[in-house]
């Protein structure tokens, strides 16, 4: 049995695009399909 290192086991979801230059904008959310409204 192999043990995955922690950084592979836990893939960021909510924070996946937090390092985008303008991460807080609606445009960024839409580009990552984080919001469909």
């Amino acid at each position: 049995m192999t043990v995955e290192p922690a950084e592979k086991l836990l893939a960021p979801v909510l924070s996946a695009f937090w390092d985008d230059p303008r991460s807080w904008t609606l445009d960024t959310y839409r580009r990552h399909e984080a919001i469909r409204a």
Binding site: P5, A6, E7, K8, L10, A11, P12, S15, A16, W18, D19, D20, P21, R22, S23, W24
Partner: protein
């Protein structure tokens, strides 16, 4: 209501009830439920110390006790000059920068009793203070207006200090292989890993991670503000 009067008065409650065709009891129920509504006149600056669990153990309780003594006021009380209202606040989702103090709902990260005392001294003396992240500080009434959904009209205010801070991106960088995995030391005297972005978020009233460890580091004796940085560097 808060952006006009600075708090929600009984007159304000009646005004809302009439405007919205509700009873004053219904409006009062909303006002008393949400902790961000004030129900009495307060200071120009709301100094909120997060004392929810993580911030509390990381030093929030110590900061709150220290500010109570320093300002001579209790929870939800205002200094005699009308400048500062001290309050316990609830979690503001900045646990990775604990312990957090908020002034008019702007973030002051990684605080210590000393830095928080300096912060309130600056506010009382009218010296400009800069939040660690987010928009520049404005008055409580202006903040209330923005929080009510009106746009922040100040040029460039929203993007003033960029996006997420390094502590919030640690997991993402680790996942991308952009930073080396390391085990958080369990003992206060364990050596610490070097910090890359140490000075990124330093402001006069918010020490950078170089001066104050974030919550990614094991709790050490820093809760009382005694520096431990020299141990690992």
């Amino acid at each position: 209501m808060q952006s006009e009067e600075g708090f929600v008065s009984r007159t304000g409650i009646r005004f809302c009830a009439e405007l919205l065709d509700l009873t004053t009891a219904e409006v009062t129920a909303v006002v008393t439920f949400y902790t961000m509504y004030r129900r009495k006149a307060s200071g120009d600056y709301q100094v909120g110390v997060c004392t929810n669990t993580l911030c509390a153990v990381m030093g929030g309780d110590a900061i709150f006790d220290d500010l109570k003594q320093h300002l001579g006021v209790g929870n939800d009380e205002t200094t005699e000059d009308g400048k500062v209202t001290l309050e316990h606040i609830e979690c503001n989702a900045a646990c990775d920068f604990a312990p957090v103090v908020m002034v008019n709902w702007e973030f002051f990260d990684n605080q210590t009793p000393q830095s928080a005392r300096q912060l309130v001294d600056d506010l009382i003396a009218g010296r400009e203070v800069a939040p660690t992240r987010g928009a520049p500080l404005c008055t409580y009434k202006e903040t209330a207006r923005i929080l009510a959904g009106f746009p922040d009209e100040r040029e460039g205010a929203v993007e003033a200090s960029g996006g997420a801070g390094p502590a919030s991106l640690a997991g993402l960088r680790l996942h991308r292989g952009e930073s080396a995995a390391r085990v958080v030391p369990q003992r206060a005297d364990s050596p610490r890993a070097p910090r890359d972005e140490a000075d990124t978020y330093a402001t006069p009233t918010s020490p950078s991670p170089a001066e104050h460890p974030s919550s990614h580091d094991a709790p050490s004796t820093n809760a009382t503000g005694t520096g431990t940085e020299e141990e690992g560097e």
